[in-house]
Subunit: 370 residues, 2 copies
């Protein structure tokens, strides 16, 4: 696979333009973006350190340190790149820059230590957490982003097929996870997250760390995998069975699949996230397994593997076209078995489009004999 390709520079320029909306909405004199992923979102440039500073009425600036400056000057197209002050000088620089600021936006994900330092340096400033504003921008994907997400999910389908093709009896969870990580560099640049690989009853731990348990006849295999393609994350879960599944597994698999499908059917603009969560949750509860589904139904997906909004109880966000989320109900019976089925959906003008498309039902014949 090639190195990650960037979206057209017009994308980053358009996003940077939206910082003005945030400045205006909260009547801010300035705002500061610290987090790595949001720095990338606005600049298209990756670095482990840096800061975007947008002052009202001024062009935003990207500051980074010595290690990244040469690259930043070449690659950041949406704003000028400047040399960052040294940590020791930070206080004076901020004090000088901000002497007339009264209201300043910051990200709530900023560390408490740095936030307290800002507060001490500019004691009269009122600090406004703008994380929610940036998260809401990121939640609605542009046409170019939708294309990137479609491609990432298609790559994940291919990854899944390639992995299943290469599975054989007696592989350990660890070996399977290594296989997945290697295949990620065939279909994209890297895994979106550490692959979750659970054999047999380990699937009852829904985020089990892959170990030495081996794939054997009459054992289930839960795979929760995602590949990043051109920076965008895919994410999909399937629960397969190697050999002949017993009735309990089959029944649970069917309930989880039905819960998934019923939730997906309800997804359309205007509906709240918590309503979609409730659809799947009520279904599983009526089937008698409510207490075995202890996590949210899904989460936003994009540059990060977990974004806003979430299909979770209490998330009142109303769906709009362009949002992309996972739908992943599960049932986990401690020390017995676990099933999760996860899809990715893009909200469209009148419903949703399923971006993931690997088969969910081939329980018995998907694996070769070892």
């Amino acid at each position: 696979m090639h190195p990650a390709k960037k979206l057209p520079s017009s994308e980053f320029a358009a996003r940077t333009g939206r910082l003005n909306g945030i400045l205006r909405r909260h009547r801010l004199d300035a705002l500061i973006i610290h987090s790595e992923v949001n720095r990338y979102y606005f600049t298209g440039f990756t670095s482990s350190s840096g800061v975007i500073l947008a002052e009202r009425g001024e062009e935003p600036l990207f500051f980074t340190d010595f290690r990244y400056l040469t690259a930043a000057r070449k690659e950041v197209c949406s704003m000028p790149a400047k040399m960052l002050w040294r940590a020791a000088e930070q206080r004076q620089v901020i004090a000088a820059l901000g002497c007339s600021w009264k209201r300043v936006g910051y990200e709530g994900s900023l560390s408490a230590a740095r936030f307290l330092e800002l507060q001490t340096t500019l004691p009269d400033v009122e600090w406004i957490d703008i994380s929610g504003d940036v998260a809401r921008l990121r939640a609605v994907k542009s046409i170019a982003e939708q294309r990137a997400m479609r491609a990432a999910c298609a790559a994940n389908d291919q990854l899944f097929a390639a992995v299943v093709e290469k599975l054989h009896a007696d592989m350990s969870e660890w070996e399977i996870s290594t296989l997945i990580r290697h295949q990620c560099s065939v279909f994209g640049q890297e895994p979106s997250f550490d692959p979750v690989v659970c054999v047999g009853r380990n699937a009852a731990e829904c985020h089990h760390y892959p170990g030495l348990t081996r794939l054997r006849n009459n054992r289930a295999l839960l795979l929760d995998i995602g590949v990043k393609l051109d920076r965008y994350c895919s994410d999909m879960t399937r629960t397969l069975f190697y050999g002949t599944a017993g009735n309990e597994f089959k029944m649970i698999h069917q309930i989880v699949l039905d819960a998934n499908r019923k939730a997906v059917e309800r997804i359309k603009p205007g509906v709240s996230c918590e309503h979609i969560d409730k659809t799947a949750r009520d279904y599983i509860e009526r089937a008698g397994y409510g207490k075995y589904f202890g996590h949210g139904l899904g989460h936003g997906l994009g540059l990060d593997v977990h974004e806003q909004p979430g299909f979770t109880p209490g998330d009142k966000t109303v769906l709009v076209p362009g949002m992309i989320l996972t739908v992943e109900p599960g049932i986990y019976l401690p020390n017995r078995c676990g099933v999760r089925i996860e899809e990715v959906v893009l909200i469209t003008s009148d419903g949703c489009e399923l971006l993931s498309s690997a088969p969910t039902c081939q329980l018995n014949n998907i694996l070769r004999a070892g």
Copy 2:
């Protein structure tokens, strides 16, 4: 390679015992550990969510959510594992737990949003940042950790040799970085960080993102790579040359190597970190390249790839046996070339032990013809 092995459970018990020292030193009623790496440091358990709560005079508790509880109950040996409250209940739970707390320790790396929430929930509490205390515990490696770090660095030497063996002309930086990531799963579990691979003048950007530039005759190749073995990070940089190096490259390479060796010679207990940084920095400055060495000389290494203390100007930490740091001077001439040579040292009772050992001098003959 096998899944990551854990240190003996006595290690985690001993570390957890040291939380009492922090409680006493700052006269705290309680302390809260949020960060993923520190939760692992004290519990030996990996999870994307959780909290350690230590109250004075009580056994510390590990809280995690539904997704990890089954695994945590099996694997956390140093303290009991409990079910985490739901996000929505967090406020009441914290308010009830902390009704008699006056001074509470927290990590400065905690997000500002969560910190402000804690402050609002427990308005009368004085909050003490204990990150430095935990960082100081982690900075001095136990005998078992030293063994783990020695093994990780040896694995990185083997990784480096295997990668160099497989290099050939016309490979792109991206292909080399993919090769490195694959080989990481042969010699350890995963990369410590995204491999830095710079061909030719790209090495002048000291943290260049690997692209499509290809290895060709008469080009330098900077490799900054590390593999995690059993959770511990290695980290090493070499700058090789493919073909016949010109005089400028040879001279810079020698200056950087000498700066490295001179710094390493000075390392012993009782010396300050900034003094070691100054040793290498002065040497490079006297050679006329001071302004082209813009980063710190090195950083602590362990569970994280960047830990405290640092060989940086202003770090007055005094070296003690058991600390492990990198030593990585560099010279970067924009649009011409860059050289960095990075070693890992363990502070011993009377000096230091070099944990990295890949050759640094085979500039011309280390690569096969393509």
